[in-house]
């Protein structure tokens, strides 16, 4: 009896214990489920939206001649919204294209095509430009016609052969999405969505696209020892030819000089005697501007093929061949290409095959892996749904 009683007591005790554990387990599971659901829903809307002034982080040798308009100071929330919009296909007429279709991060924000396809499947007239170190840029597009990123952004958004949608329609579409009005409020103080505010936010995000950790940067900060080939290429890149003194060079730095390999210059680089695309002349009407285009940054140049405003060169070898041997004379050919040669009395650079290889080795040093893989520059919509 005693034994039985004891057994009963034990089994009741055991039963109660089991029950308690079950309840705790069930409650726990439910709590966990609800908690994680709430958390993921909350984080979908609010994750990463830290607010306050955005601090640009770049090496001192980049200099501080940056271009941020007074009426669009960069904030963390503005950059967050700008990134959402940069990757937002609803900003295009058929909801299929975002800025990122022609500016893919893994290609240093280019698209690997001579010309890009718009919503109407018609090609653009010029090659998609890399978006790197725009914080220091003051003239945008191949012909420099836009004075700010804000002004620039509106053009591909509304061009019928690009994203093809008026800012008014974009505003309507964003208003209908649950997340956007609150985001605009976080950035601008109220939840009004306007075309101007869309462009401003995109510009804020684009200013953060800083490429400053290539092997060239590491070399400049004494953290990388270049190979003999790379060093020779760098020397040729930075030296103007003086054949009478026996000095060989490619003089690239004359237009692509400085740490950023960008000097905001516009030149006719002898692609054609009669250009199909007149470049800046179409704006100024000045024959001296015929076939004159922006001299782009060479940062990540190995990733941004094809080359030139019309994407005519598929490889860097072809580009080097052009500058070395095929510059075409014309009235508006920039003076820097006239009589610059490694041969006495030569009309073009006349580089040796080995020298071209060395220069390309140096150009490869300008590839910045961090820039093309930085998660802060990637598609935030993918990021949200993966959670």
């Amino acid at each position: 009896m005693l034994y039985n009683y004891y057994r009963l007591k034990v089994s009741t005790k055991y039963f109660l214990k089991l029950l308690r554990a079950r309840i705790i387990k069930a409650v726990g599971v439910w709590f966990l489920l609800v908690f994680s659901l709430v958390l993921s829903a909350w984080s979908y809307y609010y994750d990463e939206i830290t607010t306050g002034a955005y601090h640009f982080n770049y090496p001192t040798n980049f200099g501080n001649r940056i271009n941020v308009p007074d009426n669009n100071p960069t904030t963390k929330q503005g950059v967050y919204l700008g990134r959402m919009l940069f990757y937002e296909p609803r900003l295009s007429a058929n909801n299929t294209l975002s800025c990122a279709n022609c500016h893919k991060q893994q290609l240093a924000f280019t698209d690997n095509r001579p010309f890009s396809l718009g919503v109407d499947q018609v090609e653009t007239t010029r090659n998609s430009m890399s978006l790197a170190n725009l914080l220091w840029t003051r003239k945008f597009f191949w012909d420099g016609r836009a004075a700010s990123l804000e002004e620039q952004a509106a053009i591909p958004l509304t061009n019928p052969h690009e994203m093809g949608q008026s800012l008014e329609v974009s505003v309507k579409k964003l208003k209908a999405e649950p997340e956007y009005p609150a985001l605009f409020k976080a950035v601008y103080g109220d939840n009004t969505i306007t075309g101007d505010r869309i462009c401003k936010a995109i510009a804020q995000f684009e200013r953060t696209l800083i490429s400053a950790n290539s092997r060239y940067d590491q070399y400049l900060s004494k953290a990388y020892q270049p190979s003999a080939e790379e060093l020779k290429g760098m020397e040729l890149f930075n030296t103007g030819p003086q054949p009478e003194k026996g000095i060989r060079g490619a003089n690239c730095a004359h237009c692509h000089g400085g740490v950023k390999t960008y000097l905001e210059l516009f030149h006719n680089n002898g692609l054609d005697s009669i250009p199909k695309d007149n470049g800046i002349e179409a704006i100024t009407g000045s024959p001296g501007d015929r076939g004159r285009f922006k001299v782009p940054t060479l940062r990540n140049i190995a990733l941004t093929a094809p080359y030139m405003h019309d994407g005519r060169f598929k490889t860097l070898d072809q580009v080097l061949d052009h500058y070395s041997d095929h510059v075409v004379q014309s009235e508006s050919l920039s003076t820097v290409f006239r009589g610059e040669s490694n041969d006495i009395g030569g009309r073009t650079l006349k580089l040796l095959p080995q020298e071209k290889k060395e220069i390309i080795a140096f150009l490869n040093m300008l590839t910045d892996k961090d820039f093309v893989t930085n998660p802060e520059f990637s598609d935030p919509h993918l990021h949200s749904t993966k959670k």
């Binding site: 516009f266 001296g288 009235e331 003076t335």
Partner: protein, 161 residues
């Protein structure tokens, strides 16, 4: 009806030609910024000023005679004052290829220096070559030619901030 078409055709053609000829605007240099009277000078306008010549070696290693107007004279016409305050001012010069250089205003002031800096439009009696002109700054005796900026389009007076 035919007549009307012809008249319309002629008027459209003439309109198009005037528009296109207007598009081929005469080159000018704009003087703006901290000035009382912004200017826009053509080559003809420049010839209204006192002409000064500067001799300078070019890339070919030979002396060339450039003729034009002393920058300080142009700035004076635009109402730029040269006083103690102007010691913190500079002149930003822009070229059509995007190239930019600056001079401190004191570098252009006769009471500070005898070095002559002109906005030239001719070399050896001829108009500057298209790749150099129509306007080019010539800095007397400066060792490097880097501030002898070609294809000048704008002169802007600014305060150092």
């Amino acid at each position: 009806m035919k007549k009307q078409f012809i008249i319309a055709f002629i008027s459209i053609v003439s309109l198009v030609t005037t528009i296109t000829s207007k598009a081929q605007t005469t080159a000018t240099v704009k003087i703006t910024g901290e000035v009382t009277a912004p200017l826009s000078l053509t080559v003809a306008d420049l010839h209204q000023y006192t002409q000064t010549t500067v001799v300078r070696k070019d890339k070919d290693g030979k002396d060339h005679t450039y003729s034009g107007v002393i920058l300080a004279d142009i700035l004076q016409k635009a109402g730029v004052t040269m006083n103690r305050e102007s010691l913190t001012k500079y002149l930003l010069v822009d070229a059509s290829d995007g190239y930019e250089i600056i001079f401190a205003l004191a570098e252009l002031d006769k009471s500070f220096t005898d070095k002559i800096i002109i906005l030239a439009d001719t070399v050896d009696g001829k108009a500057l070559a298209p790749g150099d002109g129509p306007f080019r700054i010539i800095v007397q005796d400066e060792k490097k030619p880097a501030r002898c900026i070609k294809q000048v389009t704008s002169l802007k007076v600014l305060f150092a901030k």
